[in-house]
Amino acid sequence: MSEDARTKSFMMDRRRLLQGAASMTATLGFGGASKAQTSEVTLLMINAMVGPTLKPIVEDETHLKIADGPYVSSTDVVSRLTAPGGARYDLMNSSFAFSAPVVMGAKAGQERVQAVDESLLPNLKHINASSKFGIAERDGKIYMVPSSWGIDSILYNRAVVPDDDPYTQSWSLLFEDKYAGRIGWWDVAHQMLMAAGLYLGHAKPEQMDREQLGEVAKFLIAKKKNVRTFYSTFAQGSNLLSNGEIDVCYGVAPMRNELQKRGFNVTGSWPKEGVLSLLNTSYIPKDCKNVAGAHAVINAMLGERYSRALSDGCGYLPVTESGMTDVTPERHKKFGYGILDGTVKHYPLAFPTNMNMWIEAWSRVKTA
């Protein structure tokens, strides 16, 4: 071996030095860490999807420990996926319409995740027809797999707001004057502007141009007088609705589920313009440390036990046929299974053509 080659073989570059130091630090005093890694799957998804009644099902079926990171939003999940150094989670999950363009990349070879091994996903064949569009496939390989449906609509206090009022079953409940001073808006640009765009009759709200978005923002500013408060967290919104400070608010399915479980007389409306829906999909980052475990979790979430427990567990809807069987009319109505069989109108929360414009528009609404 030449001297140069010998020198090179002994040289540690900056990256390897950092990696070595970090590994040493991580394992110092944590002897079992490396062993634990193979029996643990780290995932980043809506935490309600692996909540107290659902996580045990997945852990039981996979014989793995699930360590779920703090979910912020689909934007955050995708940002972490694209951040330098990799995602650092074994499994990630976010809204399909929002994430697919980034996760899949513009063309073949630009996928940011690894293809799944279909032989490790026997439950893949049970995905229902309504959810199949969430299977992101390219060149015969699958990269994204659906896991659950979420629904955003309007939550209301049934003691104050009648169920069978046409006004109730419309986004007008959230925007118009009837319940002025008793309304709460969620402080999120994407959902609020989509809902307003849908209400104002835009066929494809996510494609609104600057002028149209400006009109929607003007409308929201005009209706802001009806709003008692903006809320930013699940707990805050739920608390406002449950203690009677507001009677109407923008709400997600887990909020409705939680409030009903705790005995509050709250439900969600089914606006004639359509609820906002999102299909959550799982994908395995390229730097996944436990690929087999990630597959096992995806498969378990497509299994019968998880599918049947999903709605009661977090209010979301299953993506599998087994999750749709033996659903009583009451459950069908309560959880919105009509989205799966086409009897409930819904519109997907698609990624806006220019998110910066949307954030700017929402900032104008809030500061007006």
């Binding site: 970090a22 630090t25 360590a67 699940f234 707990a235």
Partner: protein, 279 residues
């Protein structure tokens, strides 16, 4: 004489009015500070699914829920250990920095600005910086690999700013005298300097612990799946109603107050045992 008496009486009245206004002002001030805290404690025992009044019934179930939650206990343990380590390491580094800043260093002003930069950078921006930095370094995200360095970086400027005035006020002649008598630098530090600055060091460690315990936004960007208390709480708030939140607040307050009390006790002991005046 009568005019003098009247004038004196007017002055008394003015003084009395002023005193009353001061008492009212002080009362409102303390109420503004402490009534929310007392309300939090009060609500932590409220057997209600919502956070707020009226008080329905006394209960300990929210505390029971906290102490029966493995995730919550793990988060508390993580935050406490992280806080202790951050406080110790940051304070040690701050002592060394403050000692160094007693001398004229090249580019001292620039160095000061670099040390204080973490305070100036907004939390979100700092979090993104750490995310990218650790990403390029391919460091596995975890409590001890990424979160601890982040907390030390965040806490260090505060520790330094707390200790620097204390160091500057030290009488250098004591060290010089000790050195003249043959003491080595390490002995001078151990026997002369450290006993004098010990109350300041303890106070700095307490402050650093609190800063680390409360740190949220930078931690969110740099953490893996293990959680600290602020991150765990925020995650709970994002996923459920969390009626146990006041109880969690009380537990955190107790931890912070305990640290402060331990610090005060240690400081008092140090104050009694130091025979040398520092002026």
């Amino acid at each position: 004489m009568a005019a003098l008496s009247s004038s004196f009486s007017d002055t008394n009245k003015t003084f009395s009015l002023g005193r009353t206004a001061l008492v009212i002002y002080a009362g409102l001030f303390y109420a503004f500070l402490y009534v929310p805290i007392l309300l939090l404690v009060y609500l932590s025992f409220n057997d209600s699914q919502t956070i707020g009044l009226p008080f329905k019934q006394f209960t300990l179930r929210w505390y029971s829920q906290i102490f029966n939650s493995q995730d919550m206990l793990a988060a508390i343990a993580n935050s406490v250990v992280l806080g202790i380590l951050s406080a110790v390491i940051a304070t040690a580094l701050a002592v060394l920095l403050a000692l160094g800043f007693r001398y004229d260093l090249p580019m001292k002003g620039l160095l000061m600005k670099i040390v204080l930069m973490p305070i100036l950078i907004p939390g979100v921006v700092g979090g993104v910086i750490y995310l990218i930095f650790f990403g390029y370094g391919e460091v596995q995200f975890g409590l001890w690999t990424t979160v601890l360095p982040v907390h030390i970086t965040w806490v260090l400027p505060f520790a330094f700013l707390t200790l620097l005035p204390r160091m500057h006020g030290l009488d250098r002649t004591l060290e010089e005298a000790a050195a003249d008598l043959g003491a080595r630098p390490m002995t001078v530090f151990r026997r002369i300097l450290f006993p004098i600055i010990k109350p300041g060091v303890i106070a700095t460690m307490m402050f650093s612990f609190t800063l680390s315990f409360d740190e949220f936004i930078r931690t969110l960007f740099a953490m893996g799946s293990q959680r600290t208390v602020p991150v765990h709480l925020w995650s709970l708030l994002s996923n459920q109603m969390a009626p146990f939140l006041p109880a969690v607040g009380v537990v955190i307050m107790i931890i912070s107050m305990s640290v402060s009390l331990i610090g005060f006790a240690l400081t008092a002991r140090s104050g009694r045992s130091v025979p040398v005046d520092d002026h």
